[in-house]
Amino acid sequence: MPISPDEVEHVAQLARLELTDQEKRKFAGQLDAILTYMEKLNELDTSGVEPMLHGVEGRQPARPDSAGPSLPRDEALRNAPESQNGFFRVPPIID
């Protein structure tokens, strides 16, 4: 089923991207091509095959629970467009 510009618009909104109509049409085509290509995988018979949990073999290593140094606050706030009294300052949040 072809991807509609509306669906592209929805996905763009979720990713906080602003797209022009031209871009929406362009990405609809691209997404469509990718999904059609992936559809091909459905042709394989995977019954009896264990689902893969991760693309990389191995298991997650863990570290002991001990606190270490954090960044100096100035450093932590340096990339922020705005800060105030040690806080990141952002546009008002409407709950």
Binding site: L53, H54, A62, D65, A67, G86, F87, R89, P92
Partner: protein, 495 residues
């Protein structure tokens, strides 16, 4: 059955009975020193943004590394809640935008939760009832937002100290049907988490938070109504208030023939009401997908057995064991098992001196009264259980009286000495020897003619004043019971 009452202002109101169907999500911050994926401290109350690093700030190019303690605590909680454990388990990304979430996704679990299909037993009407646990999973906490508004300026301030703190989420099945049941569930779960040493559950510091889902159905039916979620419940009291409000709101709507809308509401504890936060149409699309930066976590048989062995006996069971094995009243057993530390202290005392009834009384009336007054826990109490047992033994054997025992307890704290040593040093041993008491009794009778006269005139109560004098003269060491007996004998002979 719909019974319609007289229509009021054109609205047909039914008086159908409805019952609520309640499910709860509980978030508990885990008792770790450092965050879930980085070594930043989790200490509460530090200046804003002093506990952050590239990992918990969501800088590009960093890799999270799992805190093994956090994982173990989550596993212990899942086992304490009788869950089946997924081995291996893995993490997923929950994607949404909010200023307190620097990565724009929360690492959580969705497809393969650590624990599933568990249960907890809660006391309802003097019986134990099971509430199903849908799942228990491990995730990271977000930061905190502060909403500022002054001089027309509108903005929000963000503190990311809490971002990345290990958080346990416990999701019940929708199996509670009253505010009282939800209340019993929250208290039981809180005690369980404290017992298991998983979380400090300090609600005033946000260590324990809830979300509720509520729907209504005709009483006695087993259908499910439209579900409303309520967020921002930062205490057990807030949950109770929000549930009462929501049950009333939905019941009123249904009786008026208006449908309940599927929505998420935000509880305002100050105003005691909730407001719509988002409607069904605005429902979040979290686009969960497996976290590519983390590998699945394996749990070996040995590891599982070790963590299973670290799950303590649960409070509900311990309480009934205290009643059964130590012959304690239901009330005493519940006070002594309310916290694991107190229950452990009691059992250590009984191990040193097998007299559970008197040990229980002394702990509840004296030791806990004292620690509560001082605002410390029994774990910080200076007197070890063995030594407290020694004190109760001296009291039970009649070697000291209760007043002296109380005095000795304070001296034990001040000097660090044990009870027998202090009793010896102070010569505080109770005088329960008739020949030793006799001269004191004689002296009291001679020096207190008024109470003596009162007694002889028939006021038997007057003996109390005389016993008081005997205690004073013996500096509290006389056996008050014996003194009363001897006084009565002597006075009766004077008649």
């Amino acid at each position: 059955m719909l019974c319609l009452t007289a229509p009021e202002a054109g609205v047909r109101v039914s008086d159908m009975e409805y019952e609520p169907v309640i499910g709860l999500e509980t978030h508990a911050e885990l008792l770790t020193e450092s965050k879930l994926w980085c070594r930043c401290s989790t200490r509460f109350g530090e200046p804003p943004n002093t506990q952050t690093c590239p990992i918990c700030l969501g800088m590009p190019g960093v890799l999270p590394v799992l805190n093994e303690r956090a994982f173990e605590l989550a596993l212990r909680a899942a086992l304490a809640l009788n869950c089946a454990i997924n081995r291996p388990t893995f993490f997923d990304r929950k994607n949404y935008y909010y200023p307190d979430l620097p990565k724009n996704y929360q690492v959580s679990q969705n497809y393969c939760n650590l624990g599933e299909d568990g249960w907890i037993e809660i006391p309802v009407d003097a019986e134990l009832r099971r509430v199903g646990i849908h799942n228990v999973h491990l995730e990271e906490d977000a930061g905190k937002n502060l909403h500022a508004q002054h001089g027309g300026a509108h903005y929000s301030l963000v503190d990311l100290n809490r971002a990345g703190t290990p958080l346990l989420e416990i999701v019940t099945r929708p199996e509670m049907h009253s505010v009282a049941e939800a209340d019993a569930f929250m208290h039981t779960l809180r005690r369980l988490l404290l017992y298991a040493g998983v979380s400090d559950c300090k609600m005033q510091e946000g260590s324990l938070r809830f979300e509720a889902s509520v729907s209504m159905r005709p009483a006695g039916s087993d259908g499910l109504g439209t579900r409303v979620e309520v967020k921002n419940l930062n205490s057990i009291k807030a949950v109770r208030g929000a549930l009462e409000y929501e049950i009333e709101r939905q019941t009123r709507r249904l009786r008026e023939g208006r449908p309940v809308e599927m929505e998420t509401r935000l509880w305002d504890a100050e105003r005691g009401r909730s407001a719509v936060m988002r409607t069904k149409e605005e429902a979040q699309d979290y686009r969960y997908f497996p976290e590519p930066d983390l590998l699945p976590v394996e749990i070996s048989d040995r590891e599982l057995a070790r963590v299973r062995a670290s799950v303590p006996e649960m409070p509900v069971l311990r309480r009934s064991r205290f009643e059964r094995d130590y012959g304690l009243s239901e009330y005493n057993a519940s006070v002594l098992t309310d916290s694991k530390q107190v229950a452990d202290y009691f059992e250590a005392c009984v191990a040193a001196y097998d007299s559970p009834g008197s040990v229980a009384n002394w702990i509840m009336n004296e030791a806990l009264a004292l620690t509560n007054r001082r605002g410390i826990g029994i774990a910080e109490f200076e007197i070890s259980p063995e030594r407290l047992a020694g004190l109760v033994r001296l009291l039970n054997e009649g070697r000291i009286n209760a007043r002296v025992a109380r005095d000795i307890m304070h001296k034990m704290i001040d000097t660090g000495k044990d009870a027998p040593t202090l009793v010896r040093e102070e010569g505080a041993e109770q005088v329960s020897d008739r020949s030793a008491l006799d001269p004191v009794i004689q002296q009291v009778i001679e020096e207190n003619p008024q109470p003596v006269q009162d007694y002889l005139a028939g006021s038997k109560k007057a003996v109390g004043a005389l016993v008081g004098q005997v205690m004073r003269l013996s500096r509290g060491k006389a056996d008050p019971k014996l003194a009363g007996q001897m006084l009565r004998q002597k006075l009766d002979r004077m008649q």
